[in-house]
Every structure is written in structure tokens, then in C-alpha cells.
């Protein structure tokens, strides 16, 4: 039994884990280790279970403190790695700040793949998800991210809120702020609304989509999903960049905040972005951002390494933009035949929700080895955990992340 205790002690030291945490993870029994030391009897099967747990736990990324080590060598020390209070737009980020968030997310990808997905990094913190626009997947993703980090997560839906009673956005923001949350996640239907709220509150604000402006966590999770797929194929460059990668984004670009954030994020990481949409759904002057504009899908696909499909955002359309979904599918639907025009093994992405049979055929959406649509959802939780972790570090007094602190 002393052997086992020693093993556990070594394991905990190595992984920077408390004994109670160990007990909780293995047997869902916090005082287990101390009781064992005090002479508690355990069965052989339990010993096996503990050994098996420690065996499986061997991967180096698993431990949070370990995973942070390689990142800290590459980026400015402490808070200088991400010197922003809020995450409002990709446009406000430097390339190395984007890479930092992606690298930070890797540890959470590992955590999320374990059976016990809990970490206490944000224990005791309150996170408000204020969604002024309907959302299922983003809200769920943020909620899961917050809860896995141990934070108290509260959701506010616009439908249930005083927004319907005529309260102004600023008053709502001030009210939320008065409840002293440690972070607020906001989605709003008007461009710039999240930035407006961020000016009026005292805690970090995360943009979960503002009108047709930006959706930064979506762009980050897309980059992370793409990175994982490329790494799996052995095509990922060591520096984490997408230099030279040709990405075609096709769909309702005009109304898409996902497209805007992705253009900025992919370009910052070195990718070449092509946009494809009917003229009415292509924003004016978008060429100025350095993208290539196409109206014929076949041309836009030629040789593309990645094809990202976007949904038609009918709820944002003021008037009729396309004659019918059937006709749209005829011109811009991603079918097996069309996908064959893209580069060999081109990766298929979609931020969801998908309209199967409109912008993407079912067999393409579910294509094994090519479609990473479900991986995008998985990475969403990890990215949001990374963003919540990084943005609350100052509040949690993580060494090096204080105001004006040098490491």
C-alpha cells in the first residue's frame, strides 16, 4: 500500500494536482487519498483502477501547467501575450495573439476528451451569457466552457429580459455590471453593440457575435479545427501558420459576421481567402481586405485546400436576395461533383447550423476524412475555455497578468 501512496504522491507532484482532486478524478471521492494514508482498506480492483488511471494520464499535454510551458517560451511573458481586456473582434488582434489563443486552447482540447472534464481554474467566478439574439450552439458552447472551468454560469435570454420592456441596451449593460460578473459574453443583432457595452462595464467582455460585424470565437475555433485536421494529416507547419493555404468561403457573405472574422483570422495566419457569393450577397468594397472575389462557384473552388460553406441568413435579409433555395443550390450548393473541382482531399467546413440540400449536400457534410464540421463544434468549447481563462487571468491574479506587471 505504501508503494501505491508513493506513486500517487509522485503522480500528483508531476501533474501539479492536489490529492483531493486526484481522489475526485479517479473515484469521485475527494478524501480518498488521506483516508488511504490513514489506513483505509481498498480492494485489488480499486488499486488496478487507480494504476490504470495514472497510466492513461501519461500524455504530456494533459497537465495544464505543463501545457503552458511551451507556449510561454514563444510569446511575450505574462499579460503581454494578450494585452486586451475584451475579445470584441479579430481585427483588433495581432497574429501572435491569435496564435497564443490557439495554443492555449490545445490543453482544453485534451481535457475535453477525457471522461472527467473538470478543471477548477475559474472556480468562484461568475460568467453571464447575455444573448440578445437567439442562439443554441454558441450559447451551449459558452455555457459548457464556463462550467468545465468551474465558473458559475448564468444565461440571460433576450426573450425573457427587460429588453422587451423598452429598457435601453446601456441600462441593461449597467444592470448586468452591477451584479459584478467576472466576465460577460454577449451576442447582439446590431453591429458594434458588444463594443458599446464593453465600454460601460468593468469586466472582460467576449463577443459572441454582433450583427454583421464579427464573431471572433467562431473564427478562432475554425482555425483550431483546421489546424488539428492538418496536423492529423501531417501537413501542419510547425509555426502554427496557414501560409499559402487557399480557403474558399462561399455563401451569404454580406450578412455573415463569421465570414468577416474568418477573413481577418485566416489572412492573419497567412492563408489566401477567396469569397464566392451572388453579387447581391457580396459586400461592396470587400476586395480592399485583400480577398479574391468570385461569383461562379466552380471557379472559386478550383484548387482550394479548404471549402467553408455559409448558410443563407434569411432572418437578416431585407427583401429578396435569391429567387429560391432550389436555385441557390443549383448555383452555389456544395455537391460531390463540385467538391471534386477543389484540391485533392480538400477539407469541408461549415459554422452551422447547416441547411442540408441548400448550401451543402448531406453526403458532403458527412464525408469521412473531409468534413470537419463536428470537429469545429468540439473545438468551439476548447477555444471558449481558452478565451475565458485568458481574459480572467488578471482578475484571478495569475502571476504576470496584473496591471502593468512585468514577469
Amino acid at each position: 500500500m505504501t508503494d501505491l501512496l508513493e506513486e500517487i504522491a509522485r503522480f500528483c507532484a508531476h501533474h501539479d494536482m492536489s490529492e483531493t482532486r486526484f481522489g475526485e478524478l479517479v473515484l469521485n471521492d475527494k478524501p480518498f487519498v488521506s483516508q488511504l494514508r490513514a489506513g483505509r482498506d481498498i480492494r485489488a480492483s480499486t488499486v488496478e483502477k487507480i494504476r490504470a488511471f495514472m497510466q492513461d494520464f501519461e500524455s504530456p499535454e494533459v497537465s495544464v501547467s505543463q501545457a503552458r510551458a511551451p507556449a510561454s517560451g514563444r510569446y511575450p511573458a505574462g499579460g503581454r501575450a494578450f494585452p486586451h481586456r475584451d475579445l470584441i473582434s479579430i481585427g483588433a488582434l495581432q497574429t501572435h495573439e491569435i496564435l497564443f489563443l490557439l495554443d492555449e486552447a490545445e490543453q482544453w482540447v485534451q481535457l475535453n476528451r477525457r471522461s472527467s472534464k473538470h478543471h477548477d481554474a475559474l472556480a468562484g467566478l461568475t460568467i453571464i451569457n447575455a444573448f440578445f439574439e437567439n442562439s443554441t450552439r454558441t450559447l451551449l458552447s459558452f455555457e459548457i466552457a464556463g462550467k468545465r472551468l468551474g465558473a458559475d454560469v448564468v444565461n440571460m435570454h433576450a426573450a425573457q429580459s427587460s429588453v422587451k420592456k423598452g429598457e435601453t441596451l446601456i441600462d441593461t449593460a449597467v444592470t448586468l455590471n452591477a451584479m459584478r460578473p467576472n466576465a460577460i459574453v454577449i451576442r447582439h443583432g446590431s453591429s458594434g453593440a458588444v463594443g458599446l457595452i464593453a465600454d460601460k462595464v468593468d469586466c472582460p467582455v467576449l463577443n459572441a457575435g454582433d450583427g454583421q460585424h464579427e464573431h471572433p470565437t467562431q473564427a478562432l475555433l475554425d482555425a483550431l479545427a483546421l489546424r488539428h485536421k492538418l496536423r492529423e494529416r501531417g501537413e501542419m507547419s510547425a509555426d502554427g501558420m496557414f501560409n499559402g493555404l487557399a480557403v474558399t468561403i462561399c455563401g451569404d457573405i454580406l450578412h455573415s459576421r463569421v465570414a468577416r472574422s474568418n477573413i481577418l483570422c485566416l489572412q492573419a495566419l497567412g492563408a489566401k481567402v477567396r469569397l464566392c457569393a451572388p453579387p447581391a450577397l457580396m459586400p461592396t468594397g470587400v476586395e480592399a481586405t485583400g480577398v479574391e472575389v468570385f461569383h461562379h462557384f466552380d471557379q472559386a473552388l478550383a484548387g482550394a485546400d479548404v471549402v467553408m460553406m455559409l448558410r443563407l441568413q434569411n432572418e437578416r435579409m431585407d427583401g429578396q436576395f435569391i429567387p429560391s433555395p432550389r436555385e441557390y443550390h443549383h448555383l452555389y450548393g456544395l455537391t460531390q461533383e463540385r467538391l471534386a473541382l477543389a484540391g485533392p482531399d480538400a477539407i469541408v467546413m461549415h459554422p452551422g447550423p447547416m441547411n442540408r440540400g441548400v448550401e451543402i449536400d448531406s453526403d458532403v457534410a458527412d464525408m469521412p476524412g473531409r468534413s470537419i464540421i463536428t470537429a469545429q463544434v468540439e473545438m468551439g468549447v476548447a477555444i471558449r475555455m481558452a478565451c475565458l481563462d485568458v481574459l480572467t487571468r488578471k482578475e484571478r491574479k495569475v502571476p504576470g497578468w496584473g496591471e502593468g506587471e512585468w514577469v
Binding site: 435601453t168 453591429s191 454582433d210 450583427g211 454583421q212
Partner: protein, 409 residues
């Protein structure tokens, strides 16, 4: 209240349409009686000390009567847009509005072209004219039905009233809050192409030509539309054009950061169009510079950009921004006061806006060099929604008379 003592403003440089006159300006019984002549015994003397003596400004097309702001800006008369609550589509409301500024400020109400400004049925324009309306306006939006617009112009021609139209194709502009282009795309703002203005200008000019009516396009802000106005003027159409300082001082770059004080109607245009507006002011295509004064409090402006109401508090900055064009050599000082006083007075058919014998004694003394900083927190206006917040400017009114009565500034 009447002016009791004759006033002589001495030692100033008097701005008339024919040039600067050195000498004395004499005001008696609320009228200008001599320009450049000597001083009479017993006159109350005012020393202008080398500053400009100018006509009180006439602001064509404001959305609120905001006396402190108008007086600060040297504005003595303003034509009030019919977009009030309730709209100026009834003679009684027009009569009330016409009295609302007196005695130290004159309001010239503009009659609503259509009932409730809906663009469907003509309002009682002749009755409103007799109640004091000086012009007719389509309001903040255009009249979509070309048939209604034609009948309006024919009716206005018969009454010899000018029709002030908002030149923006409503179907194309829709709910847009910006001009289509790189900035709107980057910010993700609902936008409309700049050509929405040229479309409306082309239609309104064609209809005005057909009806033989006088047409004033309240704000013309794009090169294409200005070219249409220029061509129409050349062939003798009775069309005039206006603009506000925002459109010759700012381009859509001012929208960066979603600054709602830069949310205007029509929206700010590209830099190319801004340059076109400056050219048009220089070559005489644009006849009027107005403030478009529309004070908006935080309940209208502290909102996400697209949800905020358009409009700026412009009365205080009208003069310094126009003087910018003089300093840049685009226009002369005389022409500057034609743009902000004489031309709008003519369009309204009032004997004011110029320093001429027989005109109303609306006079300002202007220190054209005096520097000050626009500060939205310290404005005289009801609200500080100025897109020029924090900008250093030059030119300030130091004294003002309305009908020979001094106004405390």
C-alpha cells in the same frame, strides 16, 4: 419689442455680396439704413475693432428650435423642417411654429408636402403658406410615388413656393445606415450604394423641369448627383442644392469605432465624394450650406450604430466649418455668407441674409480667427451630438443683433 436707439457698428469690415466694405453699418428701427456711410449724432456706437460685420445666418432646414445653439452660431433665422411631432402638415401647427422663436429668433416653418409626411396625399399647402410656411419639404425621406411628386411640384409651381426634397431613393436606401464601401463592409453595417442619391436627384430634376417648379435638394453629397445638378443648372432648370458641413468635412472613415454621432442621413460618403462636394461648393453648384441641426440625446445616440437615430447638432459649428473653406481657398468670404445667409434667405423669400439697405437688421460680428475647441459636453445645444467633438476650429460670433435688438451671447 422694437429697436429704440439707432445703432452704428463702426470699425468693422462689412461683408456684402459685392465684397468687403470698410466703414460704418447703421441700424434704425430694426432695418439696415446705410452700409459704409458715416455715423449720425446720437447713435449707439459699437466698435467692431476690425472684425467682420456679417449678416445673421439663415439656416435652411433644421429639425429643432434650439435658440441657445442658434445664437451661439450667429444664426438669426431658421427654416424648420416639417418632421416634428406632430408633423407640420396643418395650418394651425405652422402658425404656432412661426411664432415660436420671436422676438429674438425667427422660425420659418416649412410645410409638409404630404399628410403626415407619408408621401401619399398632398397636404393643405396653400393654407399653410398663408399661415406662414415659407417652403414645402418632403421631410426626412423622399416621395416614392413619382405621380405624387409631379403633382406636388406642379402645385408648388402654381403657389410659387420652393420644394425642398430629400434626395435618396427610399427603396434602395431601405434601413441602411452607411454608404456601401470598404468601411461599411468592415464594420458590417447595413449599407446602400451612393447611387441611391443620384437616382432620386435625376428623377426630381426631371419632374421639376416638367412642372416648371423651383426645386431645392436639401443635401447633395455625391459626385454623380452633383454632376446632375450642374448639368440641370446649365440648361436653366430652377434647381438649387444644399449640403451640411459634415459632408464636406468628413468621409465615412468617421464611422470607425461605430461613432453614432457620425450617423447621419444621408450617410457619410467616400473621400472621393467629399472632394466632389468641396469642388461643387467652389464652382457654385452648391448654393446653400445648412447646419441640419438635429440635437439628439443619449436615448437616441447611445445605441448600436444602426439602431441610433441619424442627425447631428450642427448650429454651433456651421460658421467655423464654412470658414474652413475660406481658409482653404475654396471660396471667398463673401461667397461663404452667400451660402449660409443670402441664398437660403432668397429661397425662403425673406428680406434678410444680406447687409443691404432695407434688409432686416440681423447682424453678427464675427471674429474669423478666434480659435476654440468643439466639446460635446459643453455645447449650447440641447444635446451634444456633434461629429466634430474634440476638433479645434476657428471663427466665433462675438455679437449678434436680431432686428436691431442686441442678443446676449
Amino acid at each position: 419689442m422694437r429697436q429704440l436707439t439707432p445703432i452704428s457698428i463702426t470699425g468693422g469690415r462689412i461683408v456684402t455680396s459685392d465684397g468687403i466694405v470698410e466703414g460704418n453699418l447703421r441700424l434704425v428701427d430694426g432695418l439696415i439704413v446705410s452700409v459704409g456711410d458715416g455715423v449720425h449724432e446720437g447713435d449707439f456706437l459699437v466698435d467692431a475693432a476690425g472684425r467682420l460685420v456679417t449678416p445673421g445666418m439663415v439656416d435652411l432646414g433644421v429639425f429643432a428650435i434650439d435658440k441657445p445653439a442658434f445664437h451661439f452660431g450667429g444664426i438669426t433665422r431658421a427654416a424648420l423642417m416639417p418632421d416634428q411631432s406632430p408633423p407640420l402638415d396643418h395650418p394651425a401647427r405652422v402658425r404656432f411654429a412661426a411664432q415660436s422663436g420671436k422676438p429674438d429668433f425667427w422660425v420659418h416653418p416649412i410645410a409638409a408636402a404630404t399628410t403626415a409626411l407619408e408621401g401619399k396625399s398632398l397636404a393643405e399647402i396653400a393654407l399653410m403658406r398663408d399661415a406662414g410656411a415659407r417652403a414645402i419639404a418632403t421631410g426626412r425621406s423622399w416621395i416614392a410615388d413619382s405621380g405624387v411628386m409631379l403633382r406636388l411640384l406642379q402645385y408648388a409651381a402654381m403657389l410659387d413656393m420652393v420644394v425642398i426634397s430629400h434626395a435618396e431613393d427610399g427603396g434602395m436606401a431601405g434601413k441602411a445606415s452607411a454608404t456601401a464601401g470598404e468601411i461599411a463592409t468592415r464594420l458590417g453595417l447595413p449599407s446602400a450604394p451612393a447611387v441611391a442619391e443620384a437616382l432620386a436627384v435625376a428623377r426630381d430634376i426631371a419632374l421639376a423641369e416638367l412642372a416648371g417648379a423651383r426645386l431645392h435638394l436639401r443635401q447633395v453629397t455625391t459626385r454623380a448627383a452633383l454632376d446632375l445638378v450642374r448639368a440641370a443648372k446649365a440648361r436653366g432648370v430652377a434647381v438649387t442644392a444644399g449640403v451640411t458641413p459634415a459632408h464636406f468635412m468628413l468621409s465615412d472613415l468617421a464611422l470607425a469605432g461605430f461613432r453614432t454621432f457620425a450617423r447621419l442621413s444621408p450617410p457619410l460618403r467616400s473621400e472621393e465624394d467629399r472632394q466632389a462636394v468641396i469642388e461643387a461648393i467652389g464652382d457654385g453648384t452648391i448654393d446653400v450650406i445648412a447646419s441640419g441641426h438635429d440635437p439628439r440625446g443619449p436615448e437616441d445616440k447611445r445605441l448600436p450604430f444602426a439602431d441610433a437615430e441619424p442627425g447631428m447638432a450642427g448650429a454651433e459649428t456651421l460658421l467655423p466649418m464654412t470658414l474652413t473653406l475660406v481658409r482653404d481657398g475654396v471660396i471667398s468670404i463673401e461667397r461663404a455668407f452667400d451660402l449660409i445667409a443670402r441664398n437660403p434667405a432668397r429661397l425662403l423669400g425673406v428680406e434678410a441674409g444680406a447687409l443691404m439697405v432695407g434688409c432686416e437688421a440681423d447682424v453678427a460680428i464675427v471674429d474669423a480667427q478666434r480659435p476654440w475647441v468643439v466639446d460635446s459636453r459643453k455645447m449650447a445645444a440641447q444635446a451634444g451630438n456633434t461629429p466634430f467633438d474634440g476638433q479645434p476650429v476657428q471663427g466665433r460670433v462675438t455679437a449678434l443683433w436680431k432686428g436691431g435688438m442686441g442678443i446676449a451671447l
